[in-house]
Every structure is written in structure tokens, then in C-alpha cells.
Symmetry: C2
Subunit: 369 residues, 2 copies
């Protein structure tokens, strides 16, 4: 029997969500029904609202940073049980495809359609509103009291971990901390610059601290980001804005440039600065921010001089294997989720949460269901 | 007493060399006098002739792919003796700077000025013609019967190694083979595409074979490059040209793209293709070719999808430590230098050698002194 849920639905770009009752199909082979407990609001949700991500597919339930409890199992589910505390993750880990088997990539071949098509792993739709098919962002659609997701996208976490913080591992923590430890593999003693101190950037900061970086330079337009930045590991803060040459400021602090620069802002101009701020011969710029167009334009000379550039999606995190570890790291006091949560709202006030993020007031607003 | 030598001098861009007598200052602290035995002609020499590399400094003696014999020692030389067979390398390995000590980069901090300023390691000039100061390309100026170079740029090789082939290790072999094994670190079983099958590209091919790559796809406009390419390890050849979509051809051979693509052509358009031809989530494009402008323009989407891009200079080779090993690998039958040498000319006919390379007729012309 289909499950009735309440979800925040985007019917048209640039419009507020409407919270309505939806119907979720019963979990199919390998799928589970998750009751959402907490969900963070991410800039990617705003990108979807603004239609800047091509594969919208309206109407849609956004949200991809949730934590909840397994309430029902479809046939053949092996890795989960009813009552498990879980993170429904935007990316999958089927364990069968070349990417999963080789561990060279966290872009699970069998999860791509779900991730970018906002559908279930099998390419079909699980949710309807008044009989009308509903897309679910990244195949999750976490802005909903319930969702149905394939077990290949559901990471089981310690039932003692508070879900209000753990939900951030579904996106921001994985994306930021993972970019440092899994993708860039920052070693102890390294020099690091972080462009943008939103939730992703701040997680890069704490990832760099966890990795033992000696210099961690954060850059943001918002002066208020220095406080949480320093709390999470920043050694230097640069307020960027008109008249400030970010690359020059970084080189003043770290002569010759940093070994690692992370772009958690997005757009070709910032990506170019990130690359230029790294050391000749070994510098690595990691791009995480959302593109501002089809083309990435950097200095050719910067690359030829032995620098490297890479994209990082969900921090290179293999969702089932790595996400629970990040939750454990917070429990062990090595990561900090509390500093990231600046606002808490009941799910019904989700549109306020969106505005808080747009205005740069919130780092993370966590919705409770 | 200064040494008299005969050198090929570039007095003006786009002009042929004039072979004239020059004077070389006695080797200073840490420097040696090398008598040249063999020298290859490289596309970078043509870039310098054409003035497309900014730091020309005319007049200049080009050439950076030589092999010779140590004939005199300056004060304090520790690593070399008179009679040693050596490669005067374009890049240095001082062993003292952060790049050399950390081994993270082969851009020796103390060698940068020599490499790009075409001067000695101490930033001054060693050669004159009729009393007029002469730059020496990369601080080497190997198109000359003799040169004076700091020991930090002089790799000692086995005296049994034929210098006609070994000279190619000073540039082409290091750049190509090194890019595969030191920079990209291609593992056995990997899939590889090589854009451009000149001397660098062909060395990438044999580097990939040496690394145990299972698929090695070579692309060139010149159909005749298939033969040497296959001799050195190509498993597939694609003749590019109007109407041929290089990325599509690579994906036909290696579904989903290759793990590693090397751009040995240069220019943003080919670099973009190289990146696009790699696998989502783990693909690495290595750029070796000379830039065609200040900006590198690639697909932003390609990077965001977990691909990586890096520049490689001299293949990441640490000249003193690694170049002699590459010479040994040929002696052991694991690399092949003979296939690369399509033409041999006496030094005096160097201008013919330049034209052979421009016309795409030569892979390498080796000059003998």
C-alpha cells in the first residue's frame, strides 16, 4: 500500500515550495522506505530552484541532505533492517560496477541516472502528487516526511548519533571533508587555501585540520565567517571583495603559493584564482563549486607549470563505506557538526530556510520533521 | 682561459641559425665544461625560433637535448669528473630547495631562472659572440660544440650508452616516458590515449607500454606515425583530421573513455578533447604541449564530473636521479630510442634539421658534432 507523506514541492523555478501530501510507491526490489528525521538545506537546492541545473524535471521534491529511520523494506534488501538509522545519500555505491569495484571513482555507474535524472536507481518515479509524477532530487527528495530509496544509496549509521548533525554527512560534510581526505589526500604539514566558507568550505577547513595541515587560509566575502572558520581550524582569514587580490593575499601568507586550494564558491573566475594560488610544480586546485557556464577558463601557463586541477563530487566519498565513518569521526570529537548548524526550523518553515541561505545568514539550517 | 666553440646562433626570430665561433667563460663554482657529442632537435627549439616563447633574449644558442663529455671542472664540483659522459639537462636538481628536498616537484626552485631566462644557474651569461653576450636556451644552449653548465643540471650516464640515443633523454624521453611513470603514475592494465605522435607522444606510448597499460590509443594527423607508434606499443591508431571526432573515436575503442589522456600537441582545443576523452570520476588529462595562448579553456562539466587535469614539465623527471635510469632502461631493452631517430645530420646542417621537423618529416633528427 502506498505511503502518504508530506513533501515540499517545487512546481516552477524561482517559486517557493508548496507543502502538500504526496504518495510514495511501495519499495521495489532492493529499496527501503525511510522516514525523515532531519534535513539540511544546501546551495544545490537553491541551484535547482533557480533552474541553473539542467536536469530539473518539474514538479520535483528537492532535498538531499537528510537523515532518517528505515520503516519498510522492499524485496531482497540485504544491508538494512527496519529501525536502522540511515543517511539517504545523493550518490550510490552499488558495489557491482567498474567504478565501485575499482574504488577509483565514487561515480557509481549504476547511480548516475538517479543522481542527475532525479529518479530512482531503475530510472523510474516513486512519488506522485494528485496522481502526477514527481521527481525526487538525486533520487532522494529529502524535503519530505518519507522517501523511498534503493539500499545502494542508503548508508547505515550508528543509532546513537544525533541525526540533526549526522544529516549533514549526506552532503556538506562528505563533500568538504571528503574532498580533503579522499580526493586531494592532503598530507600532514600541508598548506591549504579554501575559497568560500559556507557549509562546504567550513567542512574543507575541518577536513584540512583533521588531515594535519599546518596552514589553512580561508577566504570569504562575509566577515562573520571568520569565527566559525577559526573554530573549525582556520589559521588565517582573508576577507575578499573589491580591491583585494586573493591570490596575492594567499602568497603573502604562504610564499610561493599553497599546495592545495579548494574552490567551494564555483564559477570560472574563482576556479582560476584557486589554481593560481597554488605552488608551481605540485599545486592542486580542487573544484567543488557549481559551474557558472559550460566553459572553465584558467591560466594555461598555471597548468603547464606542473599544477593540477580536479573536480570533486561528494568529496570522493563512497557513500556506504565512508559516510558512516564521517559520522563516527564527529562522535569521536574529530569533526564538529554543531558549528555548522546556525539555524533550526520545523520542516513546514522550509521556505524561510531557503531565504536564510540565500541571504548568507545561515551556514546550515536543519529542518526537523 | 675561455673556450672557443662553434655554435648555431639565432640572431632574429624566424631566421635560420648562423654557425659562428663563440667564447665560453671558464666554468665557475660548481660548473663544468661539456663537449657536445650529439643533440636532438625539438619542437621547443622551433617555438623559440618563432618567438612564441616570451623569454627569448636574443641572440641565443638554442638546443636542450644534448649528450656529451665533461672536459673541465670549475671549483668545488663534487658530482662529476673529467671524462664523464653526461646529459646537460634543461631543468636542475640542486638538492637543496624545497622542491628538490620534498621530491613533490621537479621544478627546482634554484633552476627556474636558468630554465626560463636562458642563463646560467646564477642568472648571468657564460657565452659571447664577438664580445656580445649570448643567451643559452634553458641555460644549456646545446647547439654548440661546447657549453658550460652547473653540475645541478648535468646528469652522469653510463659511459657505455651510445650518446646518439641517450641525448634524447635530455628532453623527449624524459618528457614522454616521465609523464607516464612519474607524473601520471599510470598503473598496469590502464587505458591510455595519446594526442600527437611526435617524439614526445611516441615516448608517452612507450612509457605506457612500460607501465603495462592494456589499451594505448594514438592519435595523429600523419598516417605514417602509425608504424613507429605500433612498434613502440600502440594498440590502436586513429588518424585525426576534418570530420573525425577524436573523443568519439576514443570512446568507441574504450567505452566510457580512457583513464589517462596525454596532450602532446598543445593548444586549448586539443587539451579540451584530451580531458573529454577520459572517464568520469577518475580520468586524468596530462598536458605537455605548448600553450597557444594565455587561456586554457576546457569543459567545466568535464572537470566537475571528477576528472583531473595536470601539466607535466620534463615528465616530472628529477634530472640527476631519474635521467640516468631512463638511459639504463633503454640499455636493458625496456625502452627504444632507435625508432625515434629518423634522421641524422652533422651539426653544420642544423637548419635542414629544423625544416625536417617543421615539415613533419622527422620524428627526431640527431645532430652529431
Amino acid at each position: 500500500m502506498p505511503t502518504k507523506a508530506r513533501a515540499a514541492i517545487l512546481y516552477a523555478f524561482h517559486e517557493p515550495f508548496r507543502i502538500e501530501e504526496i504518495e510514495l510507491a511501495d519499495p521495489k526490489e532492493g529499496e527501503v522506505l525511510v522516514e525523515m528525521h532531519s534535513c539540511g538545506i544546501c546551495h544545490s537546492d537553491i541551484s535547482m530552484i533557480d533552474g541553473s541545473v539542467p536536469e530539473g524535471g518539474l514538479p520535483i521534491v528537492l532535498g538531499h541532505e537528510g537523515a532518517g529511520v528505515v520503516r519498510a523494506l522492499g524485496p531482497g534488501v540485504k544491508s538494512l533492517q527496519i529501525g536502522d538509522h540511515v543517511l539517504p545519500m545523493p550518490m550510490a555505491e552499488c558495489g557491482q560496477c567498474e567504478s565501485c569495484r575499482s574504488r577509483k571513482s565514487n561515480f557509481c555507474d549504476n547511480g548516475m541516472q538517479s543522481l542527475f535524472g532525479n529518479v530512482a536507481m531503475d530510472g523510474t518515479i516513486r512519488a506522485t502528487v494528485g496522481g502526477r509524477p514527481l521527481h525526487q532530487m538525486c533520487g532522494v527528495g529529502a524535503f519530505s516526511t518519507h522517501t523511498v530509496v534503493h539500499e545502494a544509496k542508503v548508508a547505515k549509521i550508528d543509532s546513537g548519533a544525533p541525526m540533526e548533525g549526522a544529516c549533514l554527512v549526506s552532503c556538506a560534510v562528505s563533500t568538504g571533508v571528503g574532498a580533503v581526505i579522499y580526493d586531494a589526500k592532503v598530507p600532514p604539514g600541508a598548506t591549504v587555501a579554501v575559497f568560500g566558507l559556507g557549509a562546504i568550505g567550513l567542512n574543507i577547513v575541518q577536513g584540512a585540520r583533521l588531515a594535519g595541515a599546518k596552514t589553512i587560509i580561508g577566504l570569504d566575502r562575509i566577515a562573520d565567517r571568520e569565527g566559525p572558520g577559526r573554530a573549525l581550524g582556520l589559521t588565517h582569514f582573508v576577507q575578499v571583495g573589491p580591491g583585494v587580490d586573493a591570490v596575492e593575499e594567499i602568497r603573502k601568507i604562504s610564499p610561493g603559493g599553497v599546495e592545495f586550494a579548494f574552490d567551494a564558491v564555483g564559477g570560472s573566475a574563482v576556479a582560476r584564482q584557486a589554481l593560481s594560488s597554488t605552488r608551481i610544480g605540485c599545486g592542486l586546485a580542487v573544484l567543488i563549486g557549481v559551474p557558472d557556464g559550460a566553459d572553465l577558463n584558467v591560466s594555461y601557463y598555471d597548468i603547464i607549470m606542473g599544477r593540477r586541477l580536479m573536480g570533486s563530487m561528494l568529496g570522493g566519498v563512497h557513500p556506504l563505506a565512508d559516510a558512516p565513518r564521517l559520522v563516527e569521526l564527529e562522535r569521536a570529537g574529530k569533526l564538529n557538526f554543531d558549528t555548522l548548524i546556525t539555524h533550526r526550523l520545523p520542516f513546514e518553515r522550509i521556505n524561510e530556510g531557503i531565504e536564510l541561505l540565500r541571504a548568507g545568514k545561515a551556514i546550515r539550517t536543519v529542518l526537523s520533521f
